[in-house]
Amino acid sequence: MAKIKQNTIQIKIFVSFLAILFLGMAACREECHYKPRSHAGVEFFSIIDGTAAEAGVNLLELKGVGREDSLLYENRTNIRALSLPMNGMAEETGFIFVFEEHTDTIWFRYEVIPFFLSQECGFMLNFELADVSYTTAGIDSVVIVTRKITSFDDTNIRIYH
């Protein structure tokens, strides 16, 4: 009798556990509240007397090559940093920088990396930067700082004037 009574108690505990477990599981499904995007982080530097220092630039226009009808930035003064969206359907993306006194184009070459965020949010795109090429009307040089382009607001390249 003692054994039967004990088993009855254990079965009740077991069934109670199942009920609570599945109530908890039913409440687990969430919605996607925010889906981040990966942009390349850019910083501007000036070289004065052989020394590099962070310096703002006056940017009249910034647009993608092939998307000249759509400006990313317009009439920004003393801008020190900005972010650039890469084209996921291509292996390289170009951007036209129209400064006050000159215009330069920078090309990014990269690998596209689809990244699964969650069941609710699905995929976003990260990029692995391979190299950068550029014109030198006003730009002195471009240095790659971080090759992984993610949504973490890292600086990926520095532009030296």
């Binding site: 254990q10 505990i13 908890g24 969206p85 990396i113 689809p114 069941q119 995929f123």
Partner: protein, 225 residues
């Protein structure tokens, strides 16, 4: 970092309640200490939590068979094997994962009351699985829609576990039980396409460690009384 969900906390609480219930009012004529004469044999069972997961998460399906056998009065050899699928069909992506796993190790009995058993153990696990995402759409940005896919990729991972297990004999040679597992991935190489991975037999998680909880039903093929 170990992830503990609300369900896991509920499970731990109820496990403690169950342990207390099992220890209450011991009948000296029935009590058998670990190491004394007892029934031995191959115990074979199924993980009930895996098929029941489909009610909460229909995209995921799994099966796990387990077996243990006495290798001494207080020690059990344990093997656990199974497979799992995850098929996600959302408007902007499809994800297919299929894999198998095997865990092997042992348990040591700490407390036995007739057929009931509380044990601790350790396992080594290995999983092999394949993943593909045949259709991915990323919403329009400056450059418009992205449409692409992830080619099929094959993975193998290993992990170690510590286990706290409870089994109770409901009827002659028929047992139910549950266990809590702490799991740690070995030689984790990360995944460039996914943080929150689902590894068959290990579970989901963004980190290399996790807690798991499963419940089982067993039948023991007795060898001797």
């Amino acid at each position: 970092m170990i992830r503990i969900s609300g369900s896991t906390i509920s499970a731990i609480f109820l496990l403690l309640v169950a342990l207390e219930g099992a220890a209450a009012e011991p009948d000296d004529t029935l009590y058998v200490r670990a190491g004394e004469s007892h029934v031995t044999g191959l115990r074979f069972g199924f993980n009930l939590s895996r098929p029941l997961w489909r009610f909460a998460e229909p995209a995921r399906m799994g099966f796990e068979a387990v077996g243990d056998f006495n290798i001494g009065p207080e020690y059990f050899g344990v093997a656990e094997a199974g497979f799992s699928f995850r098929d996600l069909d959302e408007p902007d992506y499809q994800l297919r994962e299929r894999g198998v796993f095997l865990r092997a190790g042992g348990d040591r009995g700490l407390y036995r009351y007739n057929g009931d058993l509380i044990a601790v153990g350790a396992r080594l696990g290995v999983a092999a699985w394949e993943r593909a995402a045949p259709g991915i759409i990323v919403e329009p940005g400056y450059w418009g829609d992205y449409t692409g896919s992830l080619e099929s990729e094959f993975f193998i991972r290993q992990w170690a576990e510590v286990v706290l297990a409870l089994k109770t004999e409901l009827f002659s040679n028929i047992f139910i039980g549950w266990n809590i597992r702490g799991k740690l991935l070995l030689f984790d190489r990360g995944d460039r396409h996914m943080n929150e991975r689902y590894i068959p037999g290990f579970g989901a998680g963004e980190t290399g460690s996790t807690l798991g909880f499963d419940f089982y039903i067993y039948y023991r093929f007795p060898l001797r009384n």
